[in-house]
């Protein structure tokens, strides 16, 4: 049953299995295990980013294509919902219609970019996506009549999801059963389903072809698989998954703006999560996203303390400043591409094998 749910892709290492199970349980019972707004925010963020990072891994890890437009697709999904709710009011219909429109636009855009740049050489793709994504971000911040510009859009969500809504009287293990809880479980279950769908995808014959393309495009073509078609299909699939993750974050945050969806910083975060967790395995996305977001939320405080503690020494406080944590991540990123190209998951699996 579990094997079937995981599409036959077992973790393959006892340590990995335990860690994954722990992450799953913590996320599943997050509202009860870690009460408090901040930890619930973190848990929801982890859920959404697992989907986002896994969808990026579909492209980077499984197909071997580097895209810098993933946040653009993420943003289109989020803005679809945000604009629909702003226009038609907070209802499930607007979420559905807005999300569907976002996913449709994403698929068309991904198809176009893929056809233009993957036709000749895959390396074009990285550059073209970088250019298109930044043009898109500029465009969104300029079309303020539709997108709210740099300020973004604030909106209400359907009443059931509001914190003020009481689902039942009384408490369960000391936690109020309100709309916020329901919303968290909406995000959690959706993320879980999306993740399992992607796991299914990469373990299907289609996923195997993608890996073949990654390993040797020329040979895959010789065997009779149209490489362009598979690369473009992977692009479109991964982009629509990212758009769905965008829908989730739009509903969860009740706010959509360039900083939460489109910014290049998020793109770099996603890259780091994939590489640190492990390219070419869906479980890498889980580990990478969880570790990264926990570090982002809690490690920066630690760095601030270290910076204060070393304030007597020159230069060191500047290097340890919480704002500079990307510096250390960048170094870690380069080192892990050199020495652990398979990431944490690859290491654990390698040890078990």
């Amino acid at each position: 049953m579990i094997t079937r749910l995981l599409s036959g892709d077992r973790p393959g290492s006892p340590i990995l299995a335990i860690v994954l199970l722990a992450i799953f349980l913590c996320l599943a019972f997050a509202p009860f295990l870690f009460p408090g707004t901040r930890s619930l925010e973190t848990a929801a963020r982890i859920c959404i980013f697992i989907v986002l990072v896994a969808s990026y891994d579909l492209l980077l890890g499984y197909t071997g294509i580097v895209s810098f437009a993933h946040t653009m697709f993420f943003g289109i999904g989020a803005y679809g919902v945000a604009i629909a709710i702003s226009a038609w009011g907070p209802s499930f219909t607007s979420i559905l219609v807005g999300g569907a429109a976002g996913v449709a636009l994403t698929m068309v855009l991904a198809l176009l970019i893929g056809l233009f740049s993957l036709r000749v050489r895959a390396i074009f793709f990285a550059m073209v996506t970088l250019a298109v994504a930044s043009a898109f971000a500029v465009l969104v911040s300029q079309m303020s009549w539709l997108t709210g510009g740099e300020d973004g859009l604030n909106y209400a969500i359907p009443g059931v999801f509001k914190p003020a809504t009481k689902l039942m009287d009384g408490r369960l293990f000391g936690v109020r059963l309100d709309g916020k809880l329901l919303l968290y479980y909406f995000v959690f279950v959706s993320s879980l389903v999306l993740f399992l769908v992607m796991l299914r995808m990469v373990n299907s014959p289609f996923g195997r072809v993608l890996q073949a393309v990654r390993e040797n495009a020329f040979r895959a073509e010789a065997i009779g698989y149209r490489v362009v078609v598979y690369r473009t299909a992977a692009t479109v699939l991964s982009a629509s998954m990212a758009a769905l993750a965008g829908v989730l974050i739009a509903v969860w945050l009740r706010y959509t703006g360039p900083a939460t969806t489109l910014s290049f910083e998020i793109m770099i975060d996603i890259l780091l999560m994939v590489v640190i967790g492990g390219m070419g395995t869906m479980y890498g996305a889980v580990i990478g996203a969880t570790l990264f977001i926990l570090a982002q939320t809690y490690l920066q405080n630690l760095m601030g303390a270290a910076s204060d503690a070393t304030s007597a020494i020159p230069l060191l406080p500047d290097l340890l400043d919480p704002g500079r944590w990307l510096l250390w991540l960048g170094v870690l990123f380069i080192l892990s591409v050199y020495f652990f190209p398979t990431g944490i998951v690859g290491r654990l699996r390698g040890r078990a094998a």
Binding site: L60, G64, V66, F116, S117, R119, V120, R121, A122, I123, F124, A126, M127, V128, L130, A131, V132, S134, A135, V138, L139, Q142, M143, F264, I268, L271, V275, L315, D318, L319, G323, R324, L326, L327, L329, G330, V331, F333, I334, V337, Y338, P341
Partner: protein, 342 residues
């Protein structure tokens, strides 16, 4: 020897082949003409065209190194923007130290200050290019995926280090005294600095064309672009050649950074990655590895951005992407594809 010595037979290219080869050259005047028709006013058009050419020259300076590095060693450097930023910061620091020179009313002393700033920036970015090639790029030859990731990591680290060294705020500096203001040509306004940028760009393009086409080094570089293994087999160390080209490309990026900084009069740690978007568009339009194509692409992008910024202020960047798409539809490898003899 008899008169029947074997002579190599050169086939003369047919007219249509020449037309195909030269067609991209016509794009720049065509675009300028289209700009004139849609703008309508001659003085405005002259101002915008000079601005576009100046911008194009600066982008060309930054992009040429990137495209050569790719052509020669099949290495794509996403961290190229870091050199632009570092060049700009070093140049501005030097100009700040030479405040007395830049406020002098003499043209020569002003130019000397700019020249020193450029020299310092190119020196530092050249050295940085050496370190970057040895430490970051060398271990990942042959794998595009890793190159993109690792050079992107290098860009992040470089940007953060700039934050640490120069602080997080944008730096403003005004141009040297005599480079401010504009000339009035007929009824058109032409900024002095833009003319200087065009001149520097043209001189550099001429120098590069000369070096690539008339010197031994240039011959080796071009041969390396065509077929690196063969050059190596003939006894030249292509690794060293590549390192030289990488350093030169980084130094050019530094030069472009100083010029761009003086153009905008404001620099931030993110400027490099913002300009890289335009640089990539130019490199793709020109054809990866082609210097001539890169020049035409840079002019096209420079002109189009300025025309578009005047006609439809919000669509400047989008218009250049549309241009890239159109060029790719016409020539899927860019204007001048570099054919590898592999």
């Amino acid at each position: 020897m008899s008169g029947t010595a074997i002579r190599p037979k050169f086939e003369r290219p047919s007219l249509s082949e020449i037309a195909r080869e030269r067609a991209p050259l016509a794009l720049v005047p065509v675009l300028a003409l289209a700009g004139f028709v849609s703008i309508g006013s001659f003085p405005t058009w002259v101002t915008l065209t000079v601005a576009g050419l100046a911008m194009g020259m600066m982008i060309f300076i930054m992009a040429s190194g990137l495209t050569l590095v790719f052509g020669l060693m099949d290495v794509i450097n996403f961290g190229h923007g870091a050199f632009v930023t570092v060049g700009a910061f070093v140049g501005f620091t030097v100009l700040g130290l030479l405040a007395g020179w830049t406020s002098d009313p003499s043209v020569l002393i002003n130019l000397a200050a700019v020249f020193l700033a450029i020299l310092a920036a190119m020196g530092i970015t050249g050295l940085l290019g050496y370190a970057f090639e040895r430490v970051i790029v060398m271990p990942v030859y042959g794998s595009h995926l890793k190159q993109i990731l690792v050079t992107m990591g290098g860009l992040i680290v470089a940007q953060q280090l700039i934050h640490v060294i120069w602080g997080p705020d944008a730096i403003h500096i005004s141009r040297p005294e005599t480079l401010q203001g504009s000339y009035i040509v007929g009824t058109a306004l032409v900024e002095k600095y833009r003319l200087l940028a065009v001149v520097i760009g043209l001189v550099l393009f001429a120098a590069m064309t000369y070096i690539l086409n008339r010197t031994k080094i240039g011959l080796l570089v071009r041969a390396g672009v065509e077929n690196g293994e063969m050059v190596e087999a003939l006894g030249y160390r292509i690794g060293r050649l590549f390192l030289g080209v990488f350093m030169a490309g980084s130094a050019l990026a530094g030069l472009g950074g100083v010029m761009w900084g003086l153009y905008q009069q404001t620099i931030t740690a993110h400027m490099g990655s913002e300009i890289m978007v335009l640089v990539f568009i130019v490199v793709i339009i020109g054809g990866l590895g082609s210097v001539g194509g890169c020049f035409i692409g840079a002019m096209l992008v420079g002109l189009l951005s300025n025309y578009a910024a005047f006609l439809f202020p919000k669509l400047a960047l989008v218009s250049t992407i549309a241009l890239m798409m159109i060029v790719l539809m016409w020539r899927p490898q860019g204007l001048y594809p570099v054919v590898k003899a592999k």
